[in-house]
């Protein structure tokens, strides 16, 4: 087990280095010469040379990359050009907000995916099975921004049942746990639908296979109730659920760009949107780097968990 984990960790190192190189390149290769942009096209050559030296642009690209990598590894992601504040100081609080939203959405993904998948596996040809299949297709096809806009139109503007954005009410009982949950419900639903549909699909396939196998036959032959058979079979179908669940957790991180922007939640996605609008490259760079690193980390955790419950994976 330890060997397996170490091997996986070592494999993640080149991936993360590659990720950092791509992120660095997106800024280094951005069209337009920063020196000309700063000094104007008519500047004398000496002034251009001096500025290039001062901001380090006279050095070759690989050297600049290593320098940037060193700063990044020590937690220094540079200064945001739109707010003049350190990028790290802006990213960390936003990350907390995003993790809250992701956790809420993930709970919906698991609950809904298992429910929909089980319904589909129990009676694949009955109306419940067909309905669950159609529902998963609809969920998988639903873009987060479309769902977010539709939810706001129906639940916040038309029926005025739930808040349309923000994280808490400014007045009255604002800030309490219940109030924060009310503010989470719509954005979490918008973020959850696509992963929920994919999870339902995979769980349905895995559970159907187990239910059609010898284990289920044996359990039925011993006279177990339908519910008991389902419980045992669901246990055996759980590795597939774990793998797809982990992948979806990572996928949730990308949906937040749209969801947080539309629901005005101060998370990473919203920050990234604002940074893009302001063409604030260091902030974009830092945000993309954090999300991609989290993505790799989650995949690593999923592999580890998979190896822990299924010995066949380790070899």
């Amino acid at each position: 087990m330890t060997g397996f984990l170490l091997r996986r960790l070592l494999l993640a190192v080149p991936t993360l280095l590659g990720v950092s190189a791509v992120v660095f390149a997106t800024v280094a290769l951005v069209p337009g010469d920063p020196v000309t942009a700063f000094l104007g096209p008519g500047a004398p050559a000496e002034a251009r040379q001096a500025l290039a030296e001062r901001i380090g642009l006279d050095r070759p690209l690989p050297v600049r990359y290593l320098d940037w990598l060193g700063h990044t590894l020590t937690g220094d992601l540079g200064t945001s050009t739109s707010t003049q504040r350190p990028v790290t100081a802006q990213l960390l609080p936003a990350l907390g907000q995003t993790l809250t939203l992701t956790a809420a959405a993930f709970a919906l993904v698991l609950a809904g995916g298992v429910l929909l998948g089980t319904l589909g596996a129990l009676r694949p040809r009955g109306w419940t099975g067909r309905l669950s299949g159609a529902a998963s297709t609809l969920a998988v096809s639903a873009p987060q921004y479309s769902v977010a806009l539709l939810l706001i139109a129906v639940f916040a503007v038309h029926w005025q049942l739930l808040p349309a954005g923000g994280t808490q009410d400014a007045f009255g009982a604002g800030g309490g746990a219940l109030d924060q949950l009310r503010h989470l419900l719509l954005p979490a639903t918008a973020a959850a639908l696509v992963p929920l549909g994919l999870t339902a699909r995979v769980h349905r396939a895995a559970l159907s296979a187990v239910l059609a196998g010898e284990l289920a036959d044996g359990l039925r032959a011993r006279g177990l109730s339908r519910l008991a058979v389902l419980r045992h079979c669901a246990h055996n179908a759980s590795p597939a659920l774990l793998t797809i669940g982990g992948l979806q957790l990572a996928y949730l991180l990308e949906g937040v760009v749209f969801v947080e922007t539309l629901f005005a939640r101060p998370g990473l996605g919203r920050l990234l949107y604002d940074a893009l609008t302001a063409r604030d490259l260091p902030l974009v760079q830092g945000g993309v780097l954090i999300v991609a690193t989290a993505f790799v980390g989650i995949n690593l955790l999923v592999d580890a968990a998979h190896a822990a419950i299924d010995p066949r994976v380790r070899s």
Binding site: G18, S141, P143, L150, V157, E254, V284, V288, A292, F295
Partner: protein
């Protein structure tokens, strides 16, 4: 090959599936036809607006789906927008299908060094959540249809390459390939005549299942201001344009969202009805 007698169940499912595929294909063709026929169908000029008629709700006289914040007819804009929006979804899938098949086959047939180099590069691209990679690539370019197509091609290629690689690996040491090698087939002939006929159908079906996703991503990039730029009509940009009206005219603002959702469902249904016909591609799905 002699005709095989299939077990009853399989024969029946296959026979039943053909109308389903035809139905799904017709469904996916509908938005394409609407896009092609936009000049004939659009009731008004998509970029000419009457400021007096701004933000009319759906169902208003003369404007079936209402008007946007500049008084332009929404139905006409949606129809014209189908052209760039569908192009931005279909073209990257075609590019990624070709590039991914090439990379996948090269990794599958090449030596250990080639295989590892290509697979590790794909891993790096895979490490980015799709939308973020698209954003990263699109920020490098001037916003427009071309940058969207390029960004999405980069995002989709690794997934296609994985599928092509798996399929090529499966047949790498098959007897028919060995036979072709022994009889002196050159590399291009080997790839074109032996490998491609096996890999192409799988890649084609997998690529079909990516079209819905690509359309959704493309509209998302325009929504973020990285795709087709206003005033040209495009679904994602229209979503962004109508967003300020969400609180005063919720149904009007919801229309572009519904259109993107519907088109995505149509293309995904086609991908899904095709998928069981060539093995189960779910392991590569994202």
């Amino acid at each position: 090959m002699t005709a095989q007698r299939l077990p009853d169940g399989i024969a029946r499912t296959r026979a039943r599936r053909i109308p389903a595929v035809a139905l799904a294909a017709a469904g996916a063709l509908l938005p394409v036809l609407l896009a092609v026929a936009a000049p004939l169908l659009a009731p008004a000029d998509p970029s000419a607006g009457q400021l007096a008629d701004r933000l009319l709700d759906p169902g208003s006289a003369g404007h079936l789906l209402g008007t946007d914040s500049q008084g332009r007819d929404l139905l006409s804009r949606l129809l014209w927008a189908a052209r760039p929006s569908l192009t931005a979804g279909l073209l990257p899938v075609a590019v990624a299908g070709l590039a991914g098949a090439l990379v996948g086959i090269a990794a599958g047939l090449g030596g250990r060094a080639t295989e590892q180099a290509l697979l590790r590069t794909l891993d790096v691209l895979y490490a980015f959540p799709g939308v973020l990679l698209a954003i990263a690539v699109a920020t490098l370019l001037t916003p427009g249809l071309g940058s969207t197509v390029l960004a999405l091609s980069v995002v989709l290629t690794p997934a296609v390459a994985r599928v092509a690689f798996t399929e090529t690996r499966r047949i790498r040491s098959a007897e028919f390939l060995e036979a072709a090698r022994v009889s002196g087939a050159t590399w291009p002939a080997l790839v074109l005549r032996q490998v491609l006929p096996v890999v192409a159908p799988v890649v084609l079906v997998y690529a079909t299942s990516l079209v819905g996703l690509a359309i959704v991503y493309a509209a998302g990039l325009s929504f973020l201001g990285l795709g087709v730029a206003p005033p040209a009509p495009e679904w994602g940009a229209m979503l962004d344009e109508l967003r300020p009206a969400l609180f005063t005219h919720p149904w009007l603002a919801a229309i572009p969202a519904l259109v993107i959702l519907a088109v995505s469902v149509l293309f995904n249904s086609l991908g899904e009805t095709l998928r069981p016909r060539v093995g189960d591609g779910t392991e590569a799905a994202r």
